[in-house]
């Protein structure tokens, strides 16, 4: 594989951000890395088209791949859950309880349907507008809003009673 130097630079600069997005979309570190590599390979293959905005191109591929993966999961027996510390986040040196507590939001996010998860990740993790999210996912803005509303209602349920999630920030009181 001949790698364009500008593609290498793109990978070095953007792969961590894309990996984090993939992780949020899949809820699984191993799958996220696999998805990232596949997305980057596709970006490389279409570099002439993608080079103007490679991160956006790769992110769009990631979103499609994450949906494909969900479909694939539906078609085969459910995977056995991994032991809790196998995909532990690097550089975590505290105990398991601390790790589990750190992942409360990730676990809650992973329980959302894929469309709702995508919308939450793009809207509030990637800080995209409703319109940008709609364009990337191929939805109407109204669909993005309804997915967002349902996803947030579900997250409120899942996270009810968790620390200070519902506290109103001081500036807004």
């Amino acid at each position: 594989m001949r790698v364009d130097p500008s593609f290498e630079t793109f990978v070095e600069n953007s792969s961590t951000a894309l990996l984090r997005t993939a992780y949020l979309l899949t809820g699984d570190r191993g799958h996220a890395e696999d998805l990232l590599q596949t997305a980057l390979l596709r970006t490389a293959r279409h570099w002439s088209r993608a080079r103007d905005s490679p991160a956006a191109y790769a992110r769009a591929v990631l979103l499609n791949l994450s949906r494909d993966r969900i479909r694939t999961l539906f078609r085969r027996p459910k995977e056995a859950p991994m032991p809790p510390d196998v995909d532990a986040i690097h550089a975590v040196d505290a105990g398991y309880e601390q790790i589990a507590e750190r992942r409360v939001m990730l676990h809650a996010l992973a329980r959302l349907p894929i469309r709702q998860r995508q919308v939450i990740v793009l809207r509030f993790y990637e800080d995209m507008t409703v319109e940008q999210t709609a364009e990337l996912l191929g939805f109407t803005p109204g669909t993005v809003k309804s997915h967002t509303s349902r996803a947030l209602a579900r997250l409120r349920e899942l996270l009810a009673g968790h620390d200070s999630m519902e506290e109103v920030p001081r500036a807004h009181r």
């Binding site: 792969s15 494909d68 986040i89 409360v104 990730l106 939450i120 809207r123 947030l152």
Partner: protein, 322 residues
């Protein structure tokens, strides 16, 4: 209580915090190079796959004369005990459950590129359908000679027709014509390539959707209606190739057709279909088995590679006639 926007922002912050020490591998480029090499190998070996797949389909199709019997296993796995009439799956489902699951699964049909192969005596059609973008493409293959002999030309220019039906020698299977269609029935753009005569054309069609006599088993609404109006029964569990399936039989509301449908026991998506119109006879002659048409289905992810199957590009040396 926080507004949705405030709550969403807080979730975003928490997510950033929870994954802040997730970092991509520093040797990612090297890994990508290695995967690209593997992919090249995979593509090379995949060239052999259609041949094997065609063999499997051929075996399945050859079993059409007795569709209620177990489907023969493909040669490659003939040693495996998959010719039994019952699936290895231990679950027992009733027909209502399977029907509901099938209609539900078909509701997701737009998430796939549907590949189907419709086989008949002297050829077959391959079709790729993308319901999400209202596109399909089909390729017709035939063993019939390009111009079947219709008679013998005499010295005076007249033609003597043969006494009986002309004898047609079947040749090797070859692609005859392809069509790529885009848009709803009322507004379709169609590109056609005639591979034998080396021409291609495009045209626009605007006709109301016809009422098909036999429902399309990939259409959830059509199937739901057909089941509601007609009669559905569960024949049993069978193998189609290597896939565990539920074998269903659907009879039209006025017994105007019979569909044998095999749905994947895991996904409930159609794997194979054999449909036949009522021939007007009694008993076995009402739906004579030899008149059936066999269609096999594969449900492919909407990857770039699979979506590319829907594109039809005329060769540069073909003549455009319209």
């Amino acid at each position: 209580m926080l507004t949705d926007e405030q709550y969403g922002r807080r979730i975003g912050d928490r997510l950033r915090h929870e994954i802040e020490d997730v970092h991509a591998s520093p040797d990612l480029v090297r890994r990508l190079r290695r995967r690209q090499v593997k992919r090249t190998w995979a593509i090379t070996s995949a060239i052999a796959t259609p041949v094997a797949a065609a063999a499997v389909i051929a075996v399945v199709v050859s079993s059409q004369s007795t569709p209620t019997q177990p489907i023969a296993a493909p040669p490659a796995t003939s040693a495996a005990p998959n010719t039994s009439t019952s699936s290895a799956a231990p679950q027992i489902h009733n027909v209502a459950y399977i029907q509901a699951e099938t209609v539900k699964a078909l509701g997701q049909a737009s998430q796939y590129v549907i590949y189907s192969k419709d086989t008949y005596n002297t050829g077959y059609y391959e079709t790729w359908t993308d319901k999400a973008t209202l596109r399909y493409r089909n390729d017709g293959y035939t063993q019939l000679p390009p111009s079947p002999p219709m008679g013998k030309r005499n010295a005076d220019g007249s033609v003597s027709l043969p006494a009986g039906p002309p004898k047609v020698e079947l040749g090797p299977m070859r692609r005859q014509q392809s069509n790529a269609v885009k848009g709803p029935w009322e507004n379709q753009e169609i590109t056609t390539i005639d591979w034998e005569n080396k021409w291609w054309s495009t045209h626009h069609m605007s006709e109301p959707k016809p009422n098909f006599e036999i429902p399309d088993p990939t259409d959830p609404e059509g199937l739901r209606k057909a089941v509601a109006d007609g009669k559905l029964e569960l024949v049993g569990q069978e193998k189609v190739g290597t896939i565990d399936t539920h074998h269903l039989r659907l009879i039209g509301p006025k017994r105007e057709y019979k569909i044998e449908l095999w749905v994947d026991a895991t996904t409930y998506l159609p794997v194979k279909e054999s449909a036949i119109k009522n021939h007007g006879g009694q008993g076995d002659q009402e739906f004579p088995e030899s008149g059936g048409e066999a269609i096999t289905y594969a449900w492919l992810p909407r990857t770039e590679e699979n979506l590319a199957k829907l594109t039809l590009t005329p060769p540069a040396d073909f003549k455009q006639i319209k």
